[in-house]
């Protein structure tokens, strides 16, 4: 690991000032991804600005009737919060489906959004990777890519975003709040991650030096009836090979409202708006659910070894929507 300077930020503006837009400096929160990447040499910061103890650790009602979640709230505290569990169950489930108890205690909400892909070529500094070393190539295209993207990828990068939490937040239209030296800003979660194009090293729409200060969850009534389901290669403590965050409002057998997002299929949480349009106003039947999944997945461009994900996401979508419908009927 490269030697680095370490400063503990006194407050939000102090953190932004300490980072000073320095491309060689990083904010440190839980460190569960950053410290690991520093050990492997993927990240080589000259300075860490520790933001873990900033007073951004509260979950509070927001004026619009939603919830505001501070950036340094731990994943554990987010998933344990009674309001989150009752009003946004898919968010609590998504967080609980990720990592381990230890890591959820350490990791923060802000850090979760900015964690990096677990693509094995990205994390191995002896291999080319356009995300880590722009222009060096993407060995995953012709190599190990059984858990890579089927949607929205490019010839430059086929890595997937690893977060479970962000999938649920995308379905909820959550808004990310940040602070820079020039003032505050916000960006909706489905606009936070940039399209891959030929610049996979540019991952988010956050301005240079920005510090995420919190996330707003809008008052989404359909979210009270929601579910996150994750498929992985072992029963626990593994990244998704496919996941679905879904919320469904069914009345008199008709879908009144729906939210749907996919995880582990793209460089960002994938909001399934095409499927949502196919669902709303249609009868709440397995046929409708299958047609909506098909409509969304028509854009899928699988690689030689991840075609299974198209079938997986189709079946997973139908299963989760059917479960939610049955739960309404009860």
């Amino acid at each position: 690991m490269k030697e680095f300077d370490y400063r503990r930020a006194p407050d939000v503006m102090g953190a932004v000032t300490l980072l000073d837009n320095d491309p060689d400096a990083r904010y440190l929160a839980g460190g569960t991804n950053l410290v690991d990447l520093m050990k492997s040499g993927v990240e080589r910061p000259a300075r860490l600005v520790d933001v873990r103890e900033l007073p951004l650790d509260r979950i509070e009602p927001s004026p619009d009737g939603g919830l505001h979640v501070g950036a340094t709230v731990s994943n554990s505290d987010l998933a344990a919060h009674p309001e989150v569990r009752s009003r946004y169950p898919m968010l609590a489930q998504a967080v609980l489906a990720g990592a381990s108890g230890q890591l959820r205690n350490m990791a923060t909400v802000g850090g979760n959004l900015l964690q990096r892909t677990r693509c094995a070529y990205f994390t191995d500094t002896t291999k080319p990777c356009n995300k880590r070393d722009p222009g060096s190539g993407c060995p995953a295209l012709s190599g190990e890519h059984h858990n890579h993207a089927i949607l929205g990828a490019s010839e430059s990068c086929v890595a997937v975003h690893p977060s479970d939490m962000a999938v649920a937040l995308t379905a909820l239209d959550a808004v990310v709040h940040y602070e820079t030296a020039h003032g505050q800003g916000e960006v909706r979660l489905d606009q936070l991650y940039l399209p891959v194009a030929d610049t996979p090293h540019r991952e988010t729409a956050l301005p240079a030096g920005a510090l995420i200060t919190g996330i707003s969850l809008p008052p989404v009534s359909v979210a009270a009836h929601s579910r996150y389901r994750k498929v992985r290669e072992r029963a626990s403590y593994a990244f998704a090979i496919g996941s679905v965050a879904a919320a469904l409002d069914v009345r008199d057998g008709v879908v009144r409202d729906a939210r749907l997002a996919f995880g582990a299929v793209a460089s960002r949480p994938w909001r399934a708006r095409t499927a949502e349009r196919a669902l709303i106003g249609a009868p709440a039947t397995a046929e409708t659910f299958a047609a909506s999944a098909e409509a969304e997945l028509a854009a899928a461009r699988p690689l030689p070894h991840n075609g299974y994900k198209v079938t997986l996401m189709h079946n997973l979508t139908v299963a989760v929507l059917s479960e939610l419908t049955e739960a309404v009927a009860r």
């Binding site: 370490y6 690991d36 609590a92 890591l103 205690n105 626990s236």
Partner: protein, 191 residues
Amino acid sequence: MTLQTSSVVTLHINGEKHTLPVDHRTTLLDALRERLDLTGTKKGCDQGQCGACTVLVDGRRTVACLQLAVATEGREVTTIEGVADGDRLHPVQQAFLDLDGYQCGYCTPGQICSAIGMLAEHAAGWPSAASGDVRPAAGPTPLTADEIRERMSGNLCRCSAYTSIVEAVERAAETADSIKAGAPVESGAAA
């Protein structure tokens, strides 16, 4: 800006203060083992994947390999050396002994610290991925074997002593009230 790559930190470990200079790259795990001779905490993968280095930081289970020592200043650390009350073992330790919750023993300090943290999380009403309905209205989740396996999935055992680890945690959970209060009980009382 001149870069300062080391600092003098004061770490609070098992109720004692230790003041020492650390290179900023030093993890809490390496500070415990290499600098403070607290070698009960084990280094397994050193990547946050195996749980062998689990300690409690401010009462919450944490992997010490991904926690920088310099970032731990001001926080209260409890390691396996600090969970017993003198010669009286913590009920989780006693349960692991009584039920052979290990084979080689290398992952055991991490398993025990993780179980202590996990039982407190469960007692606080935290749901898990095994809980199904996470809504508070669904009521508290009983600590079934499935719940224990899910909640302890961050601790790997290369000997695969999982069957007896689950039994030991189940046994320890029977004394959950005393664990919640943070008060060690008499040796064998967990039985």
